[in-house]
Symmetry: C2
Subunit: 413 residues, 2 copies
């Protein structure tokens, strides 16, 4: 029988009623002829409660005990989902991570999946079981202690199971009905995408469109898992939601697939840094050690052996960045005249694999922002993305203008 993986997030299993609704969706896929692997998250709020317990007990906790505690929410949902399916006369049973066993690295609280043996579950499918319900987010490390995969890890569990079992598709049921051209809360014309390429989804995921955990998309891309994001709260037909798939499966496409933004950015500029080999390492090494997430980096043209170095980071990393730079200067590793922090900026990006074949996309973006009177402070580009740093007050205007300029409210012809 073909295998289908269905993943239900925390809000989709928040109550017994919602678990029942999710189970009905599973039942329909069983009726469609699939052997189904269901990956469940903890009931909404449970994981936060457990994380709160751990943090209150021990501010610098032993991550192994953290994992033992916070993984328990998924076990509850897995058992309840199996019971609900049994009530519907669908042969089902639950598996906890250690029972599969889903093997991971020993990086507790942020483990990576190493192996998913299929023999146990396939033997049960062969015996007539129709649904394997697996607790998401968890596995066991080399020493047989429980590990977790980091927040959102159930998405990654689902994709990894889909890859291991050669599933026809991996459906991620969540509280939104798909991936949009941009955030509908700030742009009324935002349109749900029918399909999006893995690479685009990766850029959007890391830019803050919190639909899927980034690692799950990476994994899906590597193993060519067809990934569908769809709503738990609506009736879905065959083409519901958004399919995240290989670029080749997308026939018609706009140059730009979506507009992403990240609200709370800061722009930091080191004025008059000595422009010598190794200066970038001398600056960004200490920043990395201080845990500053540096995003964009721009170096001005050098004049008389000195240059300005600009980088962006999340607003709440500014203090750390300042301290790291002061310490590096005090230690004589760098010298600069001044460090200017602009904490009123945001990042707006356009993403699309179509950029590779469409010329002038960046120019069109800059022209559109100019027409709105928006000043661009920093620009970075990659093969399928252009990002700009602008004043935060223009964020919504910029997103709306770019959405219009690239015709994202219309499906590709």
């Amino acid at each position: 029988m073909p295998v289908l993986v269905m993943k239900f997030g925390g809000t989709s299993v928040a109550t017994l009623d919602r678990i029942r609704r999710a189970a009905k969706r599973v039942g329909r896929e069983v009726a469609n002829g699939y052997d189904v692997i269901v990956i469940v998250s903890a009931m909404a709020g449970e994981t936060n409660k457990l994380v709160g317990f751990v943090s209150e007990t021990s501010p610098f906790f032993d991550a192994r005990e953290y994992d033992a505690v916070v993984s328990s929410g998924e076990n509850v949902t897995a058992g309840l989902m199996a019971l609900t399916l049994q009530e519907m006369d669908i042969p089902a049973r639950s598996w906890q991570g250690w029972q599969v066993p889903l093997r991971t690295t020993d990086a507790h609280a942020a483990a990576r999946i190493e192996e998913i043996p299929t023999a146990n579950i396939n033997a049960k499918f062969a015996e007539g079981m129709k649904v394997a319900v697996v607790a998401g987010f968890q596995g066991i490390g080399p020493d047989n202690r429980i590990t977790t995969l980091g927040r959102g890890g159930s998405d990654t569990t689902a994709v990894a199971f889909a890859a291991a079992f050669g599933a026809e598709r991996c459906d991620i049921y969540t509280d939104v009905d798909g991936v949009y051209t941009t955030d509908p809360r700030i742009c009324g014309k935002a349109r749900k995408l029918e399909k999006i390429a893995f690479e685009e989804m990766l850029e959007l995921a890391s830019l803050g469109a919190k639909v899927l955990q980034t690692r799950s998309v990476e994994l899906a891309m590597r193993y060519k898992v067809r990934l569908r994001v769809l709503s738990s709260f609506e009736d879905n037909n065959e083409t519901a939601g958004t399919l995240v798939c290989d670029e080749e499966d997308i026939v018609e496409q706009n140059a730009v697939a979506g507009v992403a933004y990240s609200r709370d950015e800061a722009k930091m500029t080191l004025i008059s840094v000595a422009d010598r080999p190794g200066i970038a390492a001398a600056i960004f090494g200490p920043l990395a050690e201080a845990g500053v997430n540096v995003d964009m980096i721009v170096q001005n043209i050098s004049e008389e052996g000195r240059t300005d170095m600009t980088f962006s980071c999340p607003v709440d990393h500014v203090k750390r960045a300042q301290r790291a730079m002061e310490e590096a200067a005090a230690a004589g590793h760098i010298n600069y005249k001044e460090l200017i922090a602009d904490t009123d900026v945001c990042k707006v990006s356009i993403v699309g694999i179509g950029m590779r074949s469409h010329a002038g996309v960046a120019a069109k973006m800059f022209g559109s922002l100019r027409d709105e009177g928006i000043n661009i402070k920093v620009i970075t580009t990659s093969e399928i993305k252009v990002s700009v740093l602008i004043d935060r007050k223009y964020m919504e205007l910029a997103v709306q203008a770019l959405h219009d300029a690239f015709g994202l409210d219309r499906a590709p012809a």
Copy 2:
């Protein structure tokens, strides 16, 4: 190092503060030179919540999924207790049932412990770990699925660990400060016992003094585990609580150790049953099949080949008992004139190993009840117990009178 087992029940770990208090007690025993095995229950209310989820999801649930769900509460407490101990700089780690692995029968929801390997935990003790925190109530069955030991099963887990590790003592921390001569809520003169013999505790436990799970006492008796019941909410010295121990360790004793009662009993009488070989089996077989907990049984003297058969059972089993008897009669397996149910009775018992050597204990009991004008409806006796069925309205009076008559308010001379 000598090993001590300490068990903390649900109310003793109900909040993070209480877990901290419990951890301090553990810390004191570590300072006293013990390697400590801590057995924890779920935080008070958690197991009930999970049982509620299961029952609401599936009235006739798959006990294997029930076990997977309800065992998760203990895992949370075990991790939090380990973290709390670590915060106090005490080397500790948690174990879930499958990690020990604590092997049980496959009787899900009521499994019996079969094996507790000591190698894993002893290896950690040898490396310098001071406290092993073990999730109580749970194990794994022959097929590696999670099992639970029935309500109160953490007591049994604790005693089994004490037996497996040859612990010096097994301390059960709970919300009462020991075992009393009777229930202090109905007899103001009730006195805490310093020691009680296993056999007495067994009779009291099965009579409804809900301090310890009956099976934990059986296990302690079989393996001669010194079991101490004491309060989580008071300062305890060396002789705090009640020691449940071998009869030989009790030097001074009253003839009677305690007075127990069971409030909601019913007395059922089958009038004029044919008195023939096999009649008891023909009556009590169907009752057992119907799930009726028959307690006391009395058969009248036979007259002209017919007799009356009286038995007691919990009040809420009366309907089932009536139906079972009617069906047995309809099937021609028994015949009787009438089935009389008296649902206004209770059971009062005196328990004490001293009865073996003290004559006239039963007579003294009956005399004391007569002096209060209390009519005895049924009597049963065992080597260390005399039980009577009386009208429920006399229950408190009877308990108080017997407590006085046997001088239980005074410690044995």
